[in-house]
Symmetry: C2
Amino acid sequence: MPVNQQILLDNRPEGEAVESNFRLVSTETPALAEGQVLVRHHYLSLDPYMRGRMNDSKSYAQPQPLGEVMIGGTVGEVVESRHPKFAVGDKVVGMGGWQEYSVVDGDAPGMLRKVDTTHVPLSHYLGAVGMPGVTAWYGLVKIIAPKAGETVVVSAATGAVGSAFAALAKARGCRVVGIAGGPEKCRYATEELGFDACIDYREHPDTKTMAKALKDACPQGIDGYFENVGGYILDAVLLRTNAFARIALCGMIAGYDGTPLPMTNPALILINRIRIEGFIVSEHMEVWPEALQELGRLVGTGKLRPRESIAEGIASAPSAFLGLLKGKNFGKQLVKLTP
Amino acid sequence: MPVNQQILLDNRPEGEAVESNFRLVSTETPALAEGQVLVRHHYLSLDPYMRGRMNDSKSYAQPQPLGEVMIGGTVGEVVESRHPKFAVGDKVVGMGGWQEYSVVDGDAPGMLRKVDTTHVPLSHYLGAVGMPGVTAWYGLVKIIAPKAGETVVVSAATGAVGSAFAALAKARGCRVVGIAGGPEKCRYATEELGFDACIDYREHPDTKTMAKALKDACPQGIDGYFENVGGYILDAVLLRTNAFARIALCGMIAGYDGTPLPMTNPALILINRIRIEGFIVSEHMEVWPEALQELGRLVGTGKLRPRESIAEGIASAPSAFLGLLKGKNFGKQLVKLTP
């Protein structure tokens, strides 16, 4: 039985999350029962939603239980199988959690999916051709539903969701403006990800200067906004919205650590007849096949070339995750779990 | 030529609107040109949206120009006509403004509409079977789109919009909960308007106590909310929303006088996957015929019996309007312009 290193949630954050909220343990992988599959994880995905799960508060999902393996998406390889549909060597994507191996019931719907790595590298099934990519697709296609020529904006622009958003919106003929932290990320956004413009929020740290920067970058106003961040950036975007703008609310990372961040002037929703919609991509499984097909095609044809930040080894997951929450990653944050 | 008393906007409010923002003048009605109609107004409608027009700020509509007759809906009678479609004695609804007479181009689309007063009293075409009624209809039917058994809530519950909302929502099998100011209005809401419950916001003057009152009145949570008010009531409603709740944003009267009122915790939009949509009923003329038909039927069959607050004479319009903004009216606020 291989030894399985795991990261558990040991205790809940008070304010900012810290490394000591997590605990590393080693166990043996159990023997498989009939119908089960043992997966060796190659990569663990780190995503902002995990911060929300660490709190013990009402949300769309149950809190992460204390003392259990942290939730997380994984890609890997079947190393042992007692299920007829899975063979040793199959590449699979699942929700294996922050650990090196997982034992999965091969019949549980949606828990384990075989993937083809001919045109798409395995790790991208955690990013552009996975949950973050579908998240971008749903917000853009189903909520913002832009017409060609409209201007759409996304915050956390160079992350896994933002970079997929850019490729999808360019494919629909939109002007795409990103918001990211630092000149390097902004250069990457315009030079490699296809953004028409990118605003460095560090240079525009308040509503007024951000609204001015948005005015310059969006001379025709904003028709659609994909929100990953919240706080003053949302306030500034609202000031620049056109009539009938649509806002897909996917994340409010700026408020995860404590006091909720207010929306300063919700009357703008009325004044500009805006539609705001919060969504969770896992509640819209019906769109995944169509979305994954388009995303796979964009990656396969080189129109979407996502960058990855890769931490090495399961023990590095907590610090990599805390860095992600502060925007230290560059592109999709992964943890590599094989040598 | 009859003398026409008019109320002009003389100067813009600084903070709260006051009577001296308005000015009463007398003019002679002009001679009609070919195609024009002279209407003697029986009633002027007073509505919260007018407060927004008094400000010189960006909004969905142009500000009310200074020195001109205040905008407003009117019902009346044709007293002179040089248009073949309108005859002396016709009862008509239009946007005649705060004055006793108006001269209207009979061909201008949507400016003047003949109405039938057989089953519906003329004044109701400014309320339940007019713009406020259609406003309630649009927010309920097109945005909230409730299923039977769902719980819907409306603020300013006993006003023209709120009372129509209650009748429309009861007709769809909803539990309908109102929010109004004072025990008399709350009693009227439940005893005459068909509300299942009504919360007196004066007894619940902050988010916490209002959220508690909503929990009691909405034991199954809130599926739809029609917002006329904004401020802490919206904050409290958000705390009690069910997953996939819909909020129709029609008015933010609480913030009209000055500093915008924030939304304290917009992350709830994401947590509960809420859809919020601002709307202006005049931009959805395509629904008016269907909506007016249902509203006329509800009034004609006695299922919607709206109350009216009637001020006498054009000179009383400013004080009646300021009272409306403070919730002093009981039901639809009108000004009677004929003896």
